[in-house]
Each structure stands twice: as structure tokens, then as C-alpha cells.
């Protein structure tokens, strides 16, 4: 049995990669993908510890997360499309009409 800490490390790594992508890329879609990665990191934890704790709570929650991630992506893509229409692109740093 793989120790729980390994999974913690794995999920942390994935989470950090997600954050990294989110911080370094300007493309809104990549932003979305990075968030997906982060959510997956959470899911890894949940499933792993569901296994260790021997209850299905984590797995169930993992399902919720997935569903919500999907919904989020749907809403997000909607917003990204209007962004595309209004700002002629999907570069998140372009939308800066409001600041300070």
C-alpha cells in the first residue's frame, strides 16, 4: 500500500503546477485547464484518503467536485466566449478597462 503522504505530495505537485500555469499563462482557456488540474489535485487527495479512511465520503465528494468542475467549465467557456467577442481575444490580461 502506497503511503498517504505520497499522494499528498503528488496532489500538492499537481496543485502547484496548476497554480503555476494559472500565473504564467494569459490564455483564458489555459486558465481554465489549470484550474481543472488544481481540482484534480483535490480529487486525488479525496480519493486517496477515502481509501485510507475506509469510507466513501471522499469519493462521493470527488464526484461532486467533478460535476461542479464540469459546470464551472461550461459557465467559464460561456464567459470566455463573450470575452472573445468583446475584447477580440481570449487574453485575460487584455480586459483591463477597470482598475485602481
Amino acid at each position: 500500500m502506497v503511503p498517504g503522504q505520497y499522494y499528498l505530495v503528488l496532489s500538492a505537485a499537481v496543485f502547484c503546477i496548476g497554480i503555476f500555469g494559472l500565473l504564467t499563462r494569459k490564455n483564458a482557456l489555459l486558465f481554465l485547464m489549470s484550474v481543472e488540474l488544481m481540482l484534480n489535485a483535490a480529487n486525488i487527495n479525496l480519493v486517496a484518503f477515502s481509501y485510507y479512511w475506509g469510507n466513501v465520503t471522499g469519493q462521493t465528494f470527488g464526484l461532486f467536485t467533478m460535476a461542479l468542475a464540469a459546470a464551472e467549465v461550461a459557465v467559464g467557456i460561456g464567459i470566455i466566449l463573450v470575452l472573445y467577442r468583446n475584447f477580440d481575444g481570449v487574453d485575460v490580461t487584455k480586459a483591463t478597462t477597470m482598475r485602481w
Binding site: 483564458a28 487527495n45 479525496l46 465528494f61 461542479l68 460561456g78 464567459i79 477597470m98
Partner: protein
């Protein structure tokens, strides 16, 4: 255990159910007549639905449903949801804000498309908030939080031809997505340590977490981050100025009042129930002192919000920052909780809740006034507001009430609620927190009074014309103003209820 003598247990969730049902009803109406230009029906339905839910919540509160007097909290669906005084109290906030927003939107949306969707999204978000207040498990917390958030993203970007609205929606969404990821990860870490998602069980599982206090701490911090996003607190506040500024004004009102309150509702419950300070701060070498965390956040949030608001040129954006500042005040409710606080903990938490209720009125009113100004097409900066009072004295009077109340001046509700909050903080020994809060209040007076100054004192521009007298907006604004004023003499029941229900959490 029954809320009303004869009703089944699930009826305790009636407010949420009514809201959800109204949302569905609205969708149905929209489906039947998708091209309607008369949105009176939709607005009325939404308003009535909100009011009904609020009425039920108020009725429950008065009957003592879910409170100790009638046998304690009612838990539903395997402890996933819980109905107690606090959830009902917050439901009252959400529904009254939703009602005001619905009434105001009648005029605001007069020329827009997709009105049916708009109202149903509002009510769905309200449902999500109600559920947030009722959540008793991190799973439901997460789901309801998303249920409240997702419609909000769409609502903020509702004016899809408007670059500001779209930009606001995008930023809100992106930060929101990031925050929910952080939040989810935090939950997963807490689950990893405690093996449960139901709040009381988490508390029970904390005892064995001595080894993994770092992981647990990170989880708690990330969960706090999720709430910070919802409540627009530092450092998750970045979306707020833009979202509030860019969104349709009624939505700004909705988000800055109800959504923020929802964030606090769930934060209060999660931190007091799942992470009782007494247990969690004695874990490992130094424990997890979330009271300190919130104290820092409170100070930074209120200071940043107020200072940034002080130099704004755009009234709506100023209000947005002021709303951040107010999040800082409300955070005192969590920050001033102490291990051996006893009754003082309930008092300060209750005071924070009461402040959120008053804030619901005054802040919603203020944003709805902005909505009215947008409707008039006057402009958004302070200068554009010059001389409004000469054309619309009633609305300007109401706005004045909101501004002074937000600043915490007597004789308005905001004064007494701030007083109660700071007072309770001092009672808990956090006099320095109260002092910082008070100092910030003093600063806030400067920028709030600028609005008043512009409206009443400055000469109106020659071109200042006020076309219409939007009935719905006027109604909502005046209602909010009357509420704000009446909450000064009528503060007693509010604070009493709030502190009673807050005390039940400990």
C-alpha cells in the same frame, strides 16, 4: 424536532425550497412566453418568492424553529444540512436583499433580453446562499457555494454587450474558479487529516491530528481562503472592485450584500463547529490559531478597503471598496472569538451577524441608488452626481441615509450595529481590533460624505436631466432607507435574535 407541530421534518428547509421552486417557476414562465417585454410578472414572481421565503424564515425564527427553545437544531439529509436560528437569520438577509433586488430589477432590466433567466438565476443564487447557511458538511458547503457562485458569474456578465460587465464577469469567474480550486483542495486536506466532511465529525476527528497539524493548517487556511473569496476579504478580494463596478448595479447590490453575508454565514458555522478554537489551537506545537488569522485579515481588509475607497472617482467603485471594508468589520465576528470566551463569543458573532443584516439594507440600498443613476444615464463619477438632490430629493435623501449609515453615523442602523460589533469585540478583549475598526470608520466618513456632498452641495451640471421616475427602483431604495432608519430604534430584536442564535453555535 418538528418545526411546526404537524409538519414533517423536511419542511424546515422550506425557505430554500420556496426559493428553488420560484426559480423553476420563473424558468417555466419564461419558457411559456420567452419573448415577453413586460417583465412585471417575472419581477413580481421573483419578489413574492423571495418574500415568501423570507416570511417563512421570519416565522420560523419567531417560532423558535431549530433553536434550543424547541429542541435544538434540526438536521436534514444525514446531517448534510442543518436548520437552526443562524441559518434562518441569514436566510432573512438573503431573501430581503433578493426581494429588493428583484423589485429594483423591474426597472433596471426594462430594455434587456433574457429577463426570465436573470430572475431565475438570482433566485437560484439565493437558494445557494440559503443552503450555504444551512450546510453542515464541507461537501454541502462546497456544492452550495458553487451553486451560489455559478449563477453569480453569469449575472455579473449579464450585460454581454457591455465590456465592463463582461470584464467583470471574467475576472469574477477566474478568481472564483481559482478560489474554488483552493477551497476544494483545502477540504481535501482536512478530509485527509480527519477522515470526515460533516462538521461536528471533523471537530471530533481533530484530536488525532497532532502529527499532521501542518497539513490540517494548510487545509484550514485554504478553506478560509474559499470563504474569503465569497466575502471579498483580503487577499481574495481582487475580483470585488471590478465585479461590483462592472456588474449590473442590482447584481452588485446582490453580491455585495447577500453573497457576502452567505460567505460569512458558512464561515461562521464551519469555523465554530468544525474547527472549535479550543481544540484546534492546542494541536501540535502551536496549533492553528484561526482567530489570529481572521484578526489579521480583518485589519488588512478594512484598512485596504477604506483607504482604496477614499481616493476613488467612480461612485460605484468606491462602494465596491467600501464593501470590502465592511467585510473587514464583519470579520471581527470571527477574529474576536477566544478559547475561553464563553458568552462573549456568541455576542461578538451575533453582533457581526446583526451588522450584516443592517449592512444588507444599507448597502443594497446604496447600490440600488446607483442602479437608479445608471438608469437615468447620468454617469458614474462623483462629478456626475453633482446636484442630483435638486432633481430627485427623495432618492438623494435615501442615498444620504445609506452613506451616513454605512459610515456608522447616528441616527441610522449602521451606527448601532457597528457599535454593537465593536462593543462586543471589546467585551471579548479585542479592544485594539475595535479601535482599528473605529478608526477606519472615521476615515470612511470622508468618502461617504463625498457622495453626499456631490448630491447636495455641488451645483448640478447644466445638462443634468433625470428622465424617468422608476417606480420599482424608487420603491426598493425607499424601502431600504426606511429599513436602515428603523433599524436604529428597532435594533433590539435583531441583536437579541442574532446573539441568541450565535450562542447556539458554541
Amino acid at each position: 424536532m418538528t418545526p411546526l407541530q404537524t409538519a414533517p421534518v423536511w419542511t424546515a428547509a422550506a425557505p430554500a425550497i420556496i426559493l428553488a421552486a420560484t426559480a423553476l417557476l420563473l424558468l417555466t414562465i419564461d419558457t411559456i412566453d420567452p419573448d415577453t417585454t413586460n417583465n412585471g410578472l417575472l419581477a413580481t414572481t421573483a419578489t413574492l418568492g423571495s418574500l415568501a421565503a423570507g416570511g417563512v424564515a421570519a416565522r420560523f425564527l419567531m417560532a423558535g424553529t431549530g433553536m434550543e427553545s424547541t429542541g435544538g437544531a434540526i438536521s436534514l439529509y444525514g446531517d448534510a444540512l442543518i436548520v437552526d436560528g443562524m441559518s434562518l437569520f441569514f436566510t432573512l438577509i438573503f431573501t430581503s436583499v433578493a426581494a429588493m433586488v428583484s423589485v429594483a430589477s423591474y426597472d433596471y432590466l426594462a430594455d434587456e433580453q433574457y429577463q426570465g433567466e436573470f430572475y431565475s438565476l438570482v433566485l437560484l443564487a439565493a437558494t445557494g446562499m440559503t443552503l450555504m447557511a444551512m450546510s453542515n458538511s464541507l461537501a454541502t458547503v462546497f456544492v452550495s457555494l458553487e451553486l451560489a457562485s455559478l449563477p453569480s458569474y453569469a449575472l455579473v456578465a449579464f450585460l454581454k454587450k457591455n465590456r465592463g460587465s463582461v470584464e467583470a464577469g471574467l475576472k469574477y469567474f477566474l478568481i472564483g474558479a481559482l478560489s474554488s480550486a483552493v477551497f476544494a483542495f483545502g477540504i481535501s486536506l482536512v478530509y485527509a487529516v480527519t477522515g470526515s466532511l460533516v462538521l461536528p465529525d471533523i471537530a471530533a476527528g481533530l484530536s488525532g491530528a497532532d502529527e499532521l497539524v501542518g497539513v490540517l493548517g494548510l487545509g484550514v487556511l485554504m478553506i478560509a481562503g474559499g470563504f474569503a473569496f465569497k466575502t471579498a476579504s483580503v487577499p481574495f478580494h481582487f475580483w470585488a472592485p471590478e465585479a461590483y463596478e462592472g456588474a449590473p448595479a442590482p447584481i452588485s447590490a446582490f453580491l455585495s450584500s447577500a453573497s457576502k453575508a452567505a460567505g460569512f454565514a458558512v464561515a461562521f458555522r464551519v469555523f465554530t463547529v468544525a474547527f472549535p478554537l479550543g481544540t484546534i489551537s492546542s494541536l501540535g506545537p502551536g496549533g492553528i490559531d484561526w482567530s489570529l488569522l481572521f484578526a489579521i485579515l480583518a485589519v488588512v481588509t478594512m484598512t485596504l478597503g477604506n483607504f482604496a475607497a477614499a481616493t476613488q472617482e467612480n461612485v460605484k467603485r468606491m462602494l465596491a471598496y467600501s464593501s470590502i471594508g465592511h467585510a473587514g468589520y464583519a470579520l471581527i465576528g470571527l477574529a474576536a472569538i477566544t478559547v475561553d470566551g464563553g458568552a462573549a463569543n456568541g455576542n461578538v458573532l451575533g453582533a457581526s451577524m446583526a451588522h450584516l443584516l443592517v449592512y444588507g439594507f444599507m448597502n443594497t440600498g446604496a447600490f440600488l441608488f446607483i442602479a437608479m443613476v445608471e438608469k437615468w444615464g447620468i454617469g458614474r463619477t462623483f462629478e456626475d452626481y453633482n446636484g442630483i438632490a435638486s432633481k430627485a430629493p427623495i432618492a438623494a435623501t435615501a442615498m444620504t441615509v445609506f452613506m451616513f449609515s454605512l459610515a456608522g453615523l447616528p441616527p441610522f442602523g449602521g451606527f448601532v450595529s457597528k457599535y454593537a460589533l465593536f462593543y462586543s469585540a471589546i467585551e471579548s478583549g479585542f479592544w485594539w481590533l475595535a479601535a482599528v475598526g473605529a478608526m477606519n470608520s472615521a476615515l470612511s466618513l470622508f468618502y461617504y460624505s463625498r457622495v453626499v456632498k456631490a448630491m447636495w452641495i455641488e451645483e448640478p451640471a447644466k445638462s443634468l436631466e433625470i428622465g424617468s421616475q422608476p417606480v420599482g427602483l424608487y420603491g426598493a431604495v425607499v424601502f431600504a432607507a426606511v429599513g436602515t432608519v428603523l433599524l436604529l430604534p428597532g435594533f433590539q430584536p435583531v441583536i437579541e435574535t442574532a446573539q441568541t442564535v450565535a450562542a447556539a453555535l458554541f
